[in-house]
């Protein structure tokens, strides 16, 4: 079995699966059980400043969207940071770290945006023996209205400033957790790096309204007839999170900055994908909240099986491997020509590909009276829609045309050489090909 040992920022953990700062890591009871279940590390539920803790709503705090068979696809929440006293959390963290020295324990922190607040809390966190801190600049509801969370994360100067304070008053690794509620994720990441952050973690949750109660005309979750936007997470946010991770991984200014990948990680494969895009480890929240701590067993067995199959012996052998292949649209090869192909033996004759192509694409699939569906190569633009709507995995595939063949749609010979938009004759600002 492949070695899943992770060494993120010098913090070792038996595997790269950490629980994100959220209800699963809210208290000693949960974290002990999570570690017993096999999680490599936890980021403790976000701590606030000394004094009376925040209060949560007393009505529902989650909303959701579902797929087939009511599988939870997206969760939204209006929960705040920890609503338990600071000292209680610190004492519990101390005890847990002592009992689980091989696991990563990170303190997540959110205190007001002034130097004194950070100067006060950091030594106390340091005393717990935690392996590092994560700055919660991401929470998009409640705390942001009080000038914290995503209110800080949306202003790169604040990120840099607070990160600098943390590096000044704390000796161990500092991870900056980013909010996705921003136009270009590279700016806050660059600010974190400029402030001396050891890593960024992303994403925190996305502003959202998951559903509207049409009887009471109020967004859900509804509290006394009103609702507010909450933070969206779970499988639905994974594509957004992965793009942001990749943007930071391939940005000239932040390239090489360690990343902890978060957002919709539900299976070992999701984790592997984040890691291929440059995440050194992953954090999980919704999947654990949906299925319980036990899912980590599948993540561990799945990732190690895949690594064995691929011949990887440690995780850093594939972290970032897909980054060089993430590019801009203008550099995509326009001479790469494919055609959809339907495997008639696998086809169950549902006709979805036909409806999709005929009604909304390029009228490139024919249907016979006895329900045989075939791609017409002279019409197929290779858009991939039929592949995506087909219920049978692997039934429709994209087959590359060999160089030298004639594309029956365009009548042109498929060129062997790479050529992209930057040199295309239709591009008004094309540069002449060398």
């Amino acid at each position: 079995m492949a070695d899943l040992k992770s060494n993120f920022l010098g913090i070792s953990s038996p595997n790269p699966f950490w629980l994100a700062s959220a209800p699963p890591t809210d208290k000693e009871y949960n974290v002990r059980r999570a570690f017993d279940a096999g999680w490599g590390g936890v980021v403790w539920k976000t701590l606030g400043a000394e004094g009376p803790p925040v209060v949560n709503v007393n009505g529902p705090r989650y909303g959701a969207i579902w797929g087939a068979d009511r599988r939870l696809l997206g969760l939204n929440n209006i929960e705040l940071i920890t609503d338990r006293p600071l000292q209680v959390n610190l004492d519990e963290m101390t005890r847990v770290k002592k009992d689980y020295p091989d696991r990563a324990l990170i303190a997540s922190i959110m205190v007001p945006c002034d130097e004194q607040s950070w100067k006060d809390i950091l030594p106390r966190v340091e005393d717990t023996g935690a392996d590092g801190i994560e700055l919660n600049f991401g929470c998009p509801h409640g705390m942001a209205e009080r000038g914290m969370g995503s209110a800080v994360g949306q202003v790169p100067q604040y990120i840099q400033m607070v990160t600098e304070w943390c590096k000044m008053y704390y000796s161990k690794p500092v991870i900056v957790k980013l909010t996705p509620n921003i136009t270009d994720i590279r700016f806050p990441a660059r600010a974190a790096k400029a402030g001396g952050a050891d890593a960024v973690s992303l994403i925190n949750t996305i502003n959202s309204i998951t559903s509207v109660d049409l009887d009471n005309m109020a967004p859900e979750p509804t509290i006394g007839g009103k609702g507010t936007h909450g933070g969206y997470c779970g499988p639905a946010v994974k594509p957004i999170a992965m793009n942001m991770v990749a943007e930071i991984a391939r940005d000239g200014e932040t390239r090489g900055l360690p990343i902890s990948g978060i957002g919709g990680v539900t299976t070992w494969r999701d984790a592997a994908e984040f890691m291929a895009l440059g995440a050194g480890n992953v954090q999980v929240c919704t999947a654990a909240m949906t299925y319980g701590f036990k899912i980590v067993q599948e993540m561990i067995s799945g990732l190690s099986q895949w690594m064995d199959e691929r011949g990887y012996t440690s995780i850093d052998q594939f972290v970032g491997s897909a980054v060089p292949n993430v590019t801009d649209w203008q550099y995509l090869d326009l001479n790469y020509v494919t055609k959809a192909k339907i495997d008639q033996d696998a086809c169950i004759k549902c006709g979805r590909c036909y409806a999709a192509c005929e009604d909304t694409s390029h009228q490139a699939i024919s249907m016979s009276a006895d329900r045989v569906f075939e791609v017409m190569d002279d019409e197929c633009v290779a858009c991939n829609l039929c592949v995506n709507v087909c219920p049978v995995e692997g039934c429709i595939t994209m087959e590359q045309m060999a160089p030298g063949a004639i594309d029956p749609r365009t009548g042109k010979t498929v060129e062997a050489d790479y050529a992209n938009w930057t040199t295309h004759p239709n591009n008004p600002s094309a540069k002449a090909a060398e």
């Binding site: 087939a68 068979d69 004759k349 006709g351 979805r352 036909y354 409806a355 249907m367 049978v392």
Partner: protein
């Protein structure tokens, strides 16, 4: 106290509780959660094969999607607009040879979308709310006589009433419903569903049912034609074929349909007699229903004797399996030659058969089975031809049920073409109604 082993034909072989359990729903209704889970499996096929397979062409993917999105009432409208007896069909259709057989998920996983049960969920939801979703068009002043209040007649009447015509249904029996009421197996139509469905259907208005009025017995086609603008015949197949075996007249030898009818009309199954050793002759749905229900009533041994092989059997594989699972034995390639007994049947003598290619022949080898009750289920026949042209034992029709006589339409089991199924009867009744409507309004 009688038991399954009490000799002869006797009532009360099982307790009331056992009988209630035995005659409970064959396919229990889905609850809301089960329905949504089942609906999620539909792929919303393009030009869906299930829809083509349905004799009434219900838009199945659409109604399933409507269930999935939490609007089973809208789903019911989709169903009922094509098939007004969608509630009964959801219970009795052999879906395994219709929509579900061709469902692409049957192809994909050998497990079709549960279309029948989903249809029941939708129609039950709407009907239980007491809503009748259709309204009559303005009254046209035209009148139509429908003969027979089975599925074909009811379907035709409803569609005609919807178009604003006034319909009178003449029904020979004392109660409407046809085989829905008197023939369908009890465990397919529980809780007096056939009668409830008719009550719900009649809410459309414009339909009068006159029971105890039989064509050929005080009522003739010429009179009907004189009094009404059009006539639709839906008299089904009331007669039963003869066995042509010696001893057919002995006590204990009866028509399966009569047994089933008694069973359907019984208000206390503990009083309904059944044999200890029951032999059913035939290979269709009626044979299976008679056999299974005999077993459920407490008969000790029930055997179906069918003269051909399993592939030729009219009852579907599902029904053959159902019979087997209830403990019914099916004998293939065996035909009756004589019923033995002193006054009442005690044994039946059968002969093995072989298909010679040019017809079925006895092999000469015979054997006997204990039989104190023998049910004949060897096909039903037309009882009234009303002077119309007949084709292969049925009223000959062309197009949407037009008979050899102008102004007279026919549909359902009594008319040529189509399978003898409830859903086919509904489709034929509906289509004839549309044709009658077009004709009466001068558009035909």
């Amino acid at each position: 106290m009688t038991s399954p082993t009490t000799p002869g034909i006797a009532a009360g072989r099982l307790s009331a509780a056992e009988l209630a359990n035995n005659f409970d729903d064959l396919h229990p209704p889905l609850d809301r959660h089960e329905a949504v889970v089942a609906a999620d499996r539909c792929y919303f096929c393009h030009d869906a094969p299930c829809m083509t397979a349905c004799p009434t062409s219900i838009d199945i993917p659409l109604f399933i999607r409507q269930i999935m999105t939490g609007t089973p009432e809208a789903a019911a409208r989709t169903i009922l607009s094509q098939n007004i007896l969608g509630g009964m069909c959801a219970r009795v259709c052999p879906t395994e040879t219709l929509c579900e057989e061709v469902c692409v998920r049957e192809t994909a996983e050998g497990k079709p979308v549960e279309i029948g049960r989903l249809q029941r969920f939708a129609t039950d939801t709407l009907m239980n709310s007491g809503v009748h979703p259709f309204a009559r068009a303005g009254v046209t002043g035209k009148t139509v006589a429908v003969v027979g209040a089975g599925p074909a007649g009811l379907s035709c009447a409803h569609r005609l009433a919807m178009h604003g015509h006034d319909v009178t249904i003449f029904e020979a029996r004392g109660k409407a419903g046809g085989l829905n009421e008197f023939g369908i197996a009890s465990y397919k139509s529980t809780d007096d569903f056939a009668a409830r469905e008719i009550g719900w259907l009649l809410q459309i208005g414009g339909i009068t049912i006159e029971t105890g009025r039989a064509l050929g017995n005080g009522l003739d086609l010429d009179t009907l034609q004189a009094e009404f603008d059009a006539v639709f015949l839906a008299v089904g197949l009331g007669g039963v074929n003869a066995l042509r075996a010696a001893g057919e007249d002995k006590a204990g030898v009866t028509d399966a349909v009569d047994f089933i009818s008694d069973l359907r009309q019984s208000s206390d199954l503990t009083t309904l007699p059944v044999g200890r050793n029951v032999v059913v002759i035939g290979g269709g749905m009626t044979a299976v229903d008679a056999a299974v229900q005999s077993k459920l009533l407490g008969a000790e041994n029930v055997t179906i004797a069918y003269r051909r092989g399993p592939d030729r059997m009219g009852a579907s594989k599902f029904e053959q399996d159902l019979a087997a699972s209830k403990g019914v034995k099916i004998l293939f390639n065996a035909m009756p030659v004589a019923v033995h007994g002193n006054g009442a049947a005690t044994e039946i003598e059968l002969e093995y058969t072989e298909d010679t290619g040019s017809g079925l022949k006895g092999t000469g080898e015979t054997f006997r089975l204990n039989a104190d009750q023998v049910f004949k289920a060897i096909g039903q026949t037309l009882t009234t031809d009303a002077g119309l042209t007949i084709d292969a034992g049925k009223i000959a029709v062309t197009g949407a049920g037009r008979t050899s006589k102008a102004g007279v339409w026919a549909g359902g089991d009594c008319a040529s073409g189509g399978d003898d199924l409830t859903v086919t009867a509904v489709a034929e009744g509906r289509d004839a109604a549309e044709d009658i409507h077009a004709t009466l309004m001068g558009k035909g």
